[in-house]
């Protein structure tokens, strides 16, 4: 187990470093960042002073290690637009996105796990078919369109929920549903498949033969084992949702990291964009690491793979 943990940690660190290099080189995609920052009316002297001010005149590799060294100390530089430290702004916005992600995940799990279990208890029944239809339909709906449709019904037609902002719990209901439903099909299918496999196992037959109540067999014996891969998937999906919340946050004007990313892109605020991409990637790397270690701890067969 220890060897596996060390190897897995090493891979995670290497991936994080590669991602940081890719994120850093992003600013050179548009050509010369100094020219981009200076704007159209800038003279050659303006560009030169900007280049020196931000250190773009140094070799790229020096710039990268300088940037990485500061980033490791929590210093992502100054926002070009907000004139504030990038790290400060990010940590101000991060909790909102985490809350949205957590609520979305809670919604997805609360819907998909019961449906998956019900579908597995009676395969090919009406419930199974309904759950499958829901999954197929859910996967085909563009999230931004679904979000706008929710706004139309719950915000405009029935006037049940506020449509923008992030001040009260009611603001988070629609965004959480719009962000979470996309994950439901995958979790539901995995729960269903896991339950079907476990329910066919010998120890379930033994438990039933002992005369245990169906209820006990289902929840204490079957679900407990079938839920393991679902937990790992949920961790990974949480990372996906943090990265994908940009669309939903923009629609509902939720003051989180996604909305900040969109604003920064509009303002060509490069240090902010770099930091957001890096922070969200790091979250994903840590979440998949936790998921893999959790899986390996619970299922020894994976440790040697």
């Amino acid at each position: 187990m220890l060897a596996y943990v060390v190897r897995r940690l090493g891979v995670a660190v290497l991936v994080a470093l590669t991602v940081s290099a890719l994120t850093f080189s992003m600013i050179y995609l548009s050509g010369d960042p100094a020219v981009a920052l200076a704007g159209e009316a800038a003279t050659q002297a303006d560009i030169e002073s900007i280049r020196q001010y931000y250190g773009y005149d140094r070799p790229i590799i020096v710039q990268y290690f300088d940037w990485l060294g500061r980033a490791l100390q929590g210093d992502f530089g100054q926002s070009h637009y907000l004139r504030a430290p990038v790290a400060e702004v990010i940590f101000e916005r991060l909790p909102t996105t985490m809350l949205l992600g957590a609520l979305a995940l809670a919604f997805a799990l609360a819907l998909s796990i019961p449906l998956g279990v019900l579908a597995a208890i009676r395969p090919n029944s009406l419930i199974d078919r309904a759950a499958l239809t829901l999954a197929v339909v859910g996967q085909a709906m563009p999230s931004f369109w679904f979000a706008l449709t929710l706004v139309l019904w719950f915000g405009i037609t029935w006037r049940l929920l506020p449509i923008t902002g992030s001040d009260s719990w009611a603001n988070f209901v629609m965004p959480a549903i719009a962000l979470g439903y996309y994950v439901t099909p995958a979790v539901m299918r995995l729960t269903r498949a896991g339950m079907l496999e476990v329910l066919a196992a010998d120890y379930i037959r033994t438990a039933r033969a002992k005369g245990l109540r169906p209820h006990t067999v289902l929840f204490k014996h079957a679900l407990r084992n079938a839920i393991i891969p679902v937990v790992a998937l949920a961790a990974v999906q949480f990372g996906f949702m943090l990265g994908g919340s940009i669309v939903i946050e923009t629609i509902f004007a939720i003051n989180g990291l996604g909305y900040l990313a969109w604003e920064s892109i509009q303002r060509a605020d490069l240090p902010m964009m770099q930091a957001i991409v890096l922070v969200l990637s790091l979250f994903y790397i840590v979440l998949t690491l936790v998921a893999d270690l959790l899986n390996a701890w619970l299922d020894p067969r994976l440790r040697t793979a």
């Binding site: 991936v15 197929v136 085909a140 999230s143 931004f144 369109w145 706008l148 449709t149 706004v151």
Partner: protein, 302 residues
């Protein structure tokens, strides 16, 4: 002796051929038939757009703006604009038909690029194993840890958005599933006797990889191809919706929804129509993929 030969011939004559069995399974699969049918209709719409569109999709007639679709009981609704007109007086049906071209073009091209990248990585990792596998797996893990939507938006905004840029960026981002599936399938195929036989016969590596392994893992790749095409179509729509994908006045369905967003409280059908079109296209492709997987799965053959 002769009786037996006769029997065999009779059985061969009456037994359906494998191709006929496949057809029967395909047409008996409701999802496959529905998906293929809807996709065919949308492809036909896209190909025939210049001939069947009632108006020019870019033609602005300002005194005919915001005519509701014909199913609304409204004085302005007219069969001349069956799906109405948008805020610039452009015929919505014509824009929808031309928009199908953009969705299909971007979805297919981005999928094709990611197919080439992902399959190459997966084949190399699965066939050579060892260090090659370690490097390829590392590349796959790195790609997976970067948030697709965010990176796509950032890169497109830095390079400047156009149809080509959107296709390239999406193609370079969504190859992960191809790589993961190809790697696993290649590893399995590598153990099979026919690969060992080809090696014994002295076939070149290229011949084994592309002549023996690739054709055998192709059915699984077709399923991934449908998923990724649907994925690319949804991503393009999301990018265009955020204003960082296809640029106006091109009639991308995502862009149509973005343009109508400000008016959605008054004219909800403006977002319902292109949204429904996107939904049915993605649904059809997903159903086709699920259907292909069921129909071609070995365990369903009898």
């Amino acid at each position: 002796m002769s009786d037996q030969t006769l029997d065999l011939a009779a059985i061969r004559a009456t037994a359906p051929t494998p191709a006929a069995k496949l057809r029967k399974r395909a047409f008996g699969h409701a999802g496959f038939v529905f998906g293929a049918g809807v996709l065919l209709v949308i492809v036909a719409m896209a190909l025939l757009a210049p001939w069947i569109a009632p108006h020019d999709p870019y033609d602005q007639v300002l005194d005919r703006k915001l005519i509701p679709p014909v199913w609304f009981d409204h004085a302005k609704a007219t069969w001349e604009h069956p799906l109405g007109t948008d805020m610039l007086g452009r015929d919505y049906l014509s824009r929808l038909l031309y928009g199908a071209r953009i969705s299909l073009l971007i979805g297919f091209s981005a999928m094709a690029i990611s197919l080439v990248i992902g399959t190459s990585l997966g084949l190399a990792a699965g066939y050579f194993g060892g260090r090659v596998d370690a490097v390829c797996s590392f590349i796959i893990t790195t790609r997976l840890s970067m948030p697709v939507v965010l990176v796509a938006i950032a890169v497109v905004s830095l390079i400047g958005s156009s149809l080509t840029v959107v296709v390239l960026v999406l193609g370079l981002l969504i190859w992960d599933q191809f790589a993961v599936v190809t790697r696993a399938a290649t590893m399995q195929m590598r153990q099979r006797d026919f690969v060992a036989a080809a090696e014994t016969l002295g076939s070149s590596r290229a011949r084994i990889i592309f002549g023996e392994i690739l054709p055998n893992i192709a059915p699984g790749l077709i399923v991934v191809a449908t998923i990724e095409m649907a994925h690319a179509i949804l991503l393009e729509a999301a990018l265009s919706f955020l204003g960082l994908g296809v640029q106006p006045p091109l009639p991308s369905w995502g862009l149509m929804i973005a343009e109508a967003k400000g008016l959605m409280f008054f004219e909800a059908w403006l977002i319902t129509v292109p949204g429904a079109a996107l939904f049915f296209l993605v649904l059809a492709i997903n159903l086709l993929g699920d259907g292909l997987r069921d129909v071609t799965a070995p365990e369903n053959r009898n």
